[in-house]
Symmetry: C2
Subunit: 463 residues, 2 copies
């Protein structure tokens, strides 16, 4: 921010907004839907388009082949050995556009329309993630145009399979670990707090996913002829799951809360400063009470506390009316959202113990674990986080919210596990952008200020 | 039994067993599958065949038209005003025969084959209920042949829709209430205790069937972005259902056990005399422990105690793997088996109260009641029950087991509700007869002794 050229870069961004938008639209016009094999060539075309954009800006750019759709890797390593090395990650693929009939225009023919915050762009990928990627690339372009250089050594990685579960990402990170070497990862795929307030996501919850199956009799039984003496696995299952929470919403699994790290005071202060309206948030989903641990706010319950969620339950007859059956088995799908400090393996073992000690006689429990990842945190006093906080405050006139995120972001987990890298999550989407839905949009104002903020952050990282 | 002609009747039955079997086979050859519209004419043919058989024996016999398949009503009211009036009920329709490939022969071409108990007859309907109906009709034929009269005033009612839920039965009972007037109903559609031991079913459990649906948020939610503060209806549901039983297997619904009548000492004695093997019964269904109220035997739990059975449970994701969803709703199907003395309406209200007082904040409960019927009992000291007990003991050399039945038999309920009649359930099937399954069979020995026992009972009713 002490970089004397930043004002010139911001002025350049302002002056060339239409050009930036035009390039953004070019990328939006390519229907790079990774989930649909019919769009495979469009995806490859989008990758090549991005590669060429980056090459045109002076990057060494190439496609990185994978078992699936290619990644784009581009490096610009001319800032000197003492400048930080930044890995920017985004994705060029988009979600399918259907249901098409709900779109007001062709999802791959971007529209500039009026909205309550000025102009907005409507297209599939407008924000997720082509808009945010182009915002960063245009900030880089402006820096290069004004100063002839970049303040940091920069590697750009664009993935082509983010919207279909990133099946090739981990192998690519592993194969390209030398090309992707960096001090940290910068990702632009999240939201602002609101249109006037930036946000950095400093913690993500991890996820342990399991299935529990309870078996009882050796076959389905008639509930008249066998009911009473015959064990009903649904009874055994509900007896266990019904005991998962105590009266205060605390999860009863032994050792579940062990190791949870304290939320830094700066972060709590930032949450309080948002003036977040618990009642409004709950009201929007038809609820009036926060169901988690009593005495904790919505933000704490969602961002900083773990959950035990029964995502599905099944057993016996589910059709119309009634059927007099005692099923041979019943089961449930569970996920545990984990916060930093919790050991996923310990949570899984604790749940198995919790179930086993509550089994009715003759009931047997089978567990299937679908995966487990720990909660992640970005150290808010790391130099790149401090730099981002200052850059965002300079652009928006107020400090960013140091937000948590109740969900997991698999790529962040992959960077941490495969490359040992922390991820700085700063994005400029809004909650109402309709990502994955018809009429996805990105406010031009968010795109514009996002470009400015990205330019400021690049400069600040090197300060 | 003091009827001096009974020995002659039994001798007649023994001497004409082949003729009886031939007439039984004639009825088995008609594929009267009530559930399959393609067999409608076969059903009508079976009804006409039965009517003609009865008319040929001196009954006033006719088809009773219904909205569906006809009933057969035949009366033989020549025993005098002081003789008891008996309504014999059976059904001429049969279950579908598929899967056909599992039958060793054409299901409608009855086979006489060797088995461990001598000859047995294999055909669809061999026992259920054509075999048991013909067993009764042949006992009547023998009585008429030997004595020229019947000891009771007898009405025969054969239904044609028993295997598809008896949709027209109640209307027919109501329309024909004068023709069907009787002192009690005799039904031959149940089993013996074992091949050497007869049984009278003296109690049936009733049934209240419901669905409970719990709703929470106004739509399905992402369990990362909303999990913690957002109410999960599966949690609310399992919390309620998990509390349905205490540690002793007792059902916690308020007032649930109110009004239950004591089991007569004679009945308990009869159960003890069976030497019923709880461990073997449980072992056959893969279990080792009786799950009902602690301290009660399998027979008590199944015959004499009520149940709360969760027949189905559903909510959220049920496919492969995992899905991070908090569903908007979850639900369960429940049936309550009721024993004599319990008020079905009170049980339903008690369950609603039980649910309502355990609802988490913001959870809403919706109830759908699919029907409710009380448990039924036959007074074991009624003259016709006493007569049947003596007749069965005379035939088998041991008293019948006064069995309960954990299931409901809708026709028994219909006779009680529509006509105010108690039902005497005496049947000669065996548990391994494969009713409703491929290779349904009826032991010739059971058919033969069943005919003899029916002839003895008819005589005994009048004694």
């Amino acid at each position: 921010m002490s970089n004397p050229s930043i004002d010139a870069i911001l002025a350049h961004i302002d002056a060339h907004l239409d050009d930036s938008r035009a390039r953004w639209f070019d990328l939006l016009r390519i229907p790079s839907i990774s989930a649909q094999p019919a769009h495979k060539q469009d995806c490859i075309r989008a990758a090549a388009h991005a590669r060429d954009l980056l090459a045109g800006m002076g990057f060494e750019a190439r496609l990185a082949e994978t078992a699936g759709l290619p990644g784009v890797i581009a490096t610009h390593l001319k800032a000197g050995a003492h400048a930080p090395r930044v890995l920017f990650y985004g994705h060029y693929d988009v979600q399918p556009a259907d249901p098409l009939e709900l779109w007001h225009a062709d999802p791959f023919n971007p529209q500039l329309v009026d909205g309550p915050h000025g102009k907005r762009v409507i297209a599939r990928g407008a924000v997720d993630d082509k808009g945010q990627v182009m915002m960063v690339l245009e900030a880089i372009r402006a820096s290069l145009a004004v100063t002839g250089r970049l303040p940091v050594n920069l590697t750009v990685l664009l993935e082509g399979e983010e919207e279909c579960g990133s099946p090739s990402l981990e192998a690519m990170l592993n194969a390209e670990r030398h090309a992707l070497a960096a001090d940290f990862v910068l990702v632009a795929d999240t939201n602002m707090w609101n249109i006037d307030t930036p946000a950095i996501t400093t913690s993500l919850r991890g996820l342990a996913a399991m299935e529990l199956k309870i078996t009882g009799p050796n076959r389905d039984l008639h509930s008249g002829l066998f009911g009473g003496p015959a064990l009903n696995p649904i009874r055994a299952l509900t007896r266990i799951l019904g005991d998962l929470f105590d009266e205060n919403g605390t999860i009863r699994i032994p050792g579940f809360y062990d190791g949870i790290t304290q939320i830094p005071e700066d972060v709590l202060k930032s949450w309080r400063a948002t003036g977040f309206d618990d009642a409004a948030w709950l009201g929007a989903i038809g609820l009036a009470h926060a169901s988690g641990e009593h005495g904790r706010s919505v933000l704490e319950q969602n961002w900083a506390r773990p959950t035990a969620e029964i995502n599905g339950i099944f057993g016996g007859y589910q059709g119309d009316g009634s059927k007099t059956v005692i099923p041979a088995e019943a089961g449930a799908k569970l996920t545990f959202r984990l916060v930093p400090g919790q050991d996923p393996e310990r949570v899984i073992q604790g749940f198995k113990h919790f179930v086993t000690e509550r089994l009715l006689p003759d009931a047997r429990a089978e567990f299937t674990v679908f995966g487990a990842s720990a909660g992640l945190t970005v150290p808010i006093d790391a130099p790149y986080v401090v730099a981002a906080r200052h850059a965002l405050e300079a652009e928006f006139g107020k400090p960013p919210v140091l937000a948590g995120c109740g969900a997991s972001i698999p790529v962040v987990e992959a960077f941490e596990r495969q490359l040992g890298l922390k991820t700085l999550l700063v994005g400029f989407g809004l909650d109402d952008d309709c990502i994955h839905s018809p009429n996805e949009k990105f406010e031009l104002r968010c795109f514009h200020r996002g470009m400015r903020a990205e330019a400021r952050m690049l400069a600040a990282f090197a300060a």
